[in-house]
């Protein structure tokens, strides 16, 4: 992994997206076990129907973990200072999520902090999660033309 340098990163830069396979019941069962979130609404269709839902829904924290991979595919996990999401809509079985991130701000007075806007959309373009993160990058100019740096 090439490590991004603060001076090289521009507002508007897009991080490499993360594309996940369609959400399956197996994935939800495995995530329930691994994450210790045993809420039956994610793994038991009877419980989901009892709660007034047509089918099980994905764990919000699974989507949040997927979206975090946009960050950890770009920088070391230890470079992430904060990460927030709003769960806009529940994920459904068969949803194939594409997770994206865009640099939306740089703080020149900081130790190299950039702010990233994040989102996850399904195959229909419906937004499931919106979020943002603060990430600390290495400092050290490698760009010769400072005028390019916004």
């Amino acid at each position: 992994m090439s490590i991004p340098v603060y001076e090289d990163v521009l507002v508007g830069d897009e991080l490499p997206p993360i594309v996940k396979p369609p959400l399956s019941r197996t994935t939800l069962a495995l995530f329930a076990g691994a994450s210790a979130d045993h809420n039956p609404v994610h793994i038991d269709i009877d419980a989901a129907r009892e709660a007034g839902l047509p089918d099980v829904i994905g764990h919000g924290m699974l989507t949040m973990a997927y979206v975090a991979q946009v960050l950890t595919g770009w920088v070391s996990p230890s470079a992430i200072r904060s990460y927030s999401v709003r769960f806009v809509a529940p994920t459904r079985i068969g949803n194939a999520l594409t997770c994206t991130g865009t640099v939306i701000a740089k703080d020149p007075s900081s130790d190299g902090t950039v702010r990233i806007a994040l989102q996850a959309v399904d195959q229909f373009g419906d937004v499931k999660v919106r979020g943002d993160a603060e990430v600390v990058l290495a400092r050290g100019a490698t760009r010769t033309n400072d005028a390019e740096i916004v």
């Binding site: 996940k20 919000g60 999401v85």
Partner: protein, 172 residues
């Protein structure tokens, strides 16, 4: 992004859950805390978690790869800390608060990160309910809580703020 935007209220006093039998989430739950409890971070759980989110980075699976990347042991993916809050043996009893587990939706979640969590760490976890309120004329109950984690070196590993919403069962 501001999570749970209303101000933190309430005292640190433990309140008695059993005395509350109202239909809505009672505001007196604000300030309810779980005791700080040490939770072991098992290597196998990190690997299972990383596999379940279809991670492939070997720093989550393989000690040698983690060390080669400058870590003392395999590390946990960023949002793993949320599972430690669930594994807390005295985690909040939503049912006792009048919330039905299957009708709870996760609305918002924030992490402020300290040092990473590594396999073998013992994280002391405590959580606190910082707000409760209702919306849509009482159709939705909201609970906001913050969970703190510190490792065995007394370094903060996370401060997590979560907002959950519970859909009230329609009255006949």
């Amino acid at each position: 992004m501001r999570i749970c935007s209303s101000a933190i209220r309430g005292s640190a006093l433990m309140r008695r859950v059993s005395s509350l039998k109202t239909a809505m989430v009672h505001r007196s739950f604000i300030g309810l805390e779980t005791p700080e409890t040490p939770i072991e971070v098992e290597k196998g759980r990190i690997r299972q978690f990383a596999a379940a989110i279809s991670e492939s980075n070997p720093i989550y699976f393989d000690d040698a790869a983690a060390r080669a990347a400058g870590h003392p042991a395999i590390l946990a993916p960023p949002t793993f800390g949320f599972s430690l809050s669930i594994l807390h043996p005295q985690t909040f009893d939503f049912k006792a608060m009048g919330l039905e587990l299957a009708r709870i939706l996760h609305a918002e979640q924030r992490f402020n990160f300290g040092v990473p969590i590594y396999a073998g760490d013992v994280i002391r976890v405590r959580a606190r309910i910082t707000d409760t309120y209702e919306k849509k004329g009482g159709l939705l109950d909201f609970v906001c809580m913050t969970t703190f984690g510190r490792n065995q070196h007394d370094q903060p590993v996370f401060e997590m703020t979560g907002l959950i919403a519970s859909r009230r069962r329609p009255q006949p």
